[in-house]
Symmetry: C2
């Protein structure tokens, strides 16, 4: 299809190329979205010059401007020339759109209601690095590919990033799992990078709590890296979200991990660094959080461990970085009024805080997933069957447990990220 001139983007300036007509997937994918895909492909995500151009002209005219060879940034101009020598950006975009559909993913752009509002803060970061003449990809993403059913903005609204070393120690893995579990249990989405070590421990902790977790990838959502995490990624896509700024099929090139890190820091209410070697990628994510004035939290460790050197260095160098030893400290930071764009969190308000000890014991013994019979629940809570049954009946009346499969289970709402959100849309 021939795209109409977008009235919002102003008059088209000498369009050098047009999107091909009748591209597959073009039906559900308007010109702006295709332009965002093409721009993402032309330069690495986070490119400041592209971002400024899009802010000025809109995605479609920004793309036309670039394709006409009018980029003022010489590096960007050279990249456009080299990338368009053999390929047509509009065709690449159309192919990517088709592939997106085929792999069961979806595209989310800043034009969508589902765009995470916090990401706009990256414009400030990009301006700051421009002012300091630092050549870094710190501009906001142009679009996201998303696998998973949850609305993106909602999933990220109350979220905490947990990042750290791939070569984590048992200590770090334990701490990251506990934090991931605890955050998810209290309705916070756990965001990380899907890597081995700390990332995986945080994701798994959240999944095991029946909570929501988001993996921000540095490659296509259809080829998540590392391959050893294929099963983990499938589980995350099923219960949470896999997201990426890169086109389907994009390779996990080394620099992309650092580019990706700004999204982890920007999309969340705060970032927790669990274990990191000196000057590692995870410390960079924390520095991004600091630059964005988000709560930047660091878990200390043994000074004898090389895997805590980056954590201790960060605590020494950045007085704004906050030492945290576990969930209470983290909740204190991200729950601070004004700490994020979400309504001020008043800390976890769990119904059973108001229960008597025995009822609370019974409620605690109901599994987060699946159900258990009264006998098992009595055994788990250490109460007599008769007492357990009385308490279960009371808990059922309060709506804190439901009967299922001849036993008791938690009501579905308990594992959702917020008070009364709608269930995830189907596909």
């Amino acid at each position: 299809m021939t795209p109409p001139t977008d009235p919002v983007a102003g008059p088209a300036t000498d369009p050098a190329a047009e999107p091909p007509s009748g591209v597959p997937g073009g039906a559900g994918m308007d010109e702006i979205r295709l332009a965002r895909i093409a721009l993402t492909w032309l330069a690495e995500p986070g490119n400041r010059a592209v971002s400024l151009l899009v802010a000025r002209l809109g995605p479609v005219d920004a793309l036309r401007h670039l394709l006409a060879g009018e980029a003022s940034d010489p590096k960007l101009r050279a990249a456009v020339v080299s990338r368009t020598a053999a390929d047509d950006p509009w065709e690449i975009a159309a192919d990517a759109a088709e592939r997106t559909e085929r792999i069961g993913a979806r595209l989310v752009t800043p034009e969508d209601e589902d765009w995470p509002p916090r990401l706009r803060d990256l414009s400030r970061l990009a301006l700051a690095s421009a002012a300091r003449r630092v050549d870094q990809e710190t501009a906001p993403p142009l679009c996201f590919w998303v696998r998973g059913a949850w609305p993106l903005a909602e999933a990220l609204q109350r979220s905490v990033a947990v990042v750290g070393s791939r070569a984590a120690t048992p200590y770090g893995l334990h701490v990251a799992t506990e934090i991931g579990f605890g955050l998810a249990e209290r309705g916070w989405t756990v965001v990380s990078g899907g890597a081995y070590g700390i990332d995986a421990a945080a994701h798994r902790g959240a999944l095991n709590a029946g909570g929501l977790t988001v993996a921000v990838l540095a490659c296509g959502v259809d080829r998540p890296y590392p391959v050893g995490h294929t099963a983990l990624f499938d589980r995350i896509a099923e219960d949470g979200l896999l997201i990426s700024e890169w086109l389907p099929g994009a390779e996990p090139l080394r620099p992309r991990f650092l580019i990706r890190n700004r999204v982890i820091a920007a999309a969340t209410s705060g970032t927790v660094l669990v274990e990191a070697a000196a000057r590692s990628g995870a410390t960079q994510t924390l520095h991004r959080a600091l630059a964005l004035k988000r709560p930047a939290m660091v878990v200390p460790g043994p000074v004898t461990s090389a895997m805590s050197v980056g954590a201790h260095e960060t605590l020494r160098e950045y007085p704004e970085a906050r030492l945290v030893t576990g969930l209470p400290h983290i909740l204190e930071e991200v729950g601070r009024i004004g700490a994020d764009l979400a309504p001020p969190a008043r800390g976890p308000q769990r119904p059973h805080d108001a229960l008597d000890d025995e009822s609370a014991l019974v409620l605690e013994s109901v599994p987060r997933r699946g159900s258990l019979g009264p006998d098992a629940l009595a055994a788990r809570s250490g109460l007599a069957l008769r007492t357990a049954l009385r308490k279960l009946s009371m808990l059922e009346q309060l709506g804190l447990v439901v009967r299922r499969d001849n036993g008791y289970a938690l009501p579905p709402a308990r594992v959702r990220p917020r008070g009364q959100p709608p269930g995830p849309p189907s596909g």
Copy 2:
């Protein structure tokens, strides 16, 4: 002997008691010193009212004033009445003076050149706690009992306190030993409280490096506590110093440890907290250092360890407390210009920093205590005997090693706290 009226202390105001004549030890112990002992006995060390009185009237008239029942502080007045019901303070002081001599200890008072100048800063601390109406024994000590040959002020001039939990973990013991060793190796005196756990590890680390260590006790220097450390205390008295504000024979009563802590913080260039449970005595020492504006350093640990809770709490609550992971960070803090009354340290200047690699290896392999033959030194340094001999000859010419017992040893100066100090006086 009847003491003459001290012209410095001004006119005697209705002396209620006089020191007994002909007391043993009185020969070497003048009236001021006896008065300081008596005052220390009358009220616990660090008593603010006593300290102010001594500052105003001098020790002798302060004592007379108190014995005349003229203390304005009602608690102090009551203490004086109860203590003097059965005992005469002058006699107690004379007995203590005799016992001091008998146990081979000595008394050091602010009138002596050997008084550590940093302790005067406690007057500020006492004024601050008076202003905040906090009832704490924070005033400077009235005198010290000292066992060991080193001059007290000199031993403490370049010193670092290393404090922590009695119930230390293997991790904490390892870190404290390393820090104690490293500090001593670089000519810093290691000060601690002689307790089990971190204190002992720090003392032992210093002793093993052939360095100087000072144990500040909360009981008489002739009955150091805990008794399980008798051998350690003997070694400290031999190579370093055992010091106390309490009279010989004084018991290690619980509150005395907290009173003692202010001396550890005040006498040193800085305090390092290695491991501490929540709200422990060791964290109190660090708080004293903070109040005195001395470098207050904290070694983090695993967040899973109860023995690091106090360390992490302190780092979270006091932004002035500095996270340190080892010796380089500690030297950076205590070596800061203006951080202490000692001339600004320019960091360790070790002669072999200017040596070639092989010579440095040989020098490093010379034991800190005793001597080794050329064969052993060649083996330790991993060099051929011929090379080792050549380097040893060169090192001898540079004065960096000396021949002893058919081998080579470090010259005595190398294990001394500073560049060219005099050797310790004999007894």
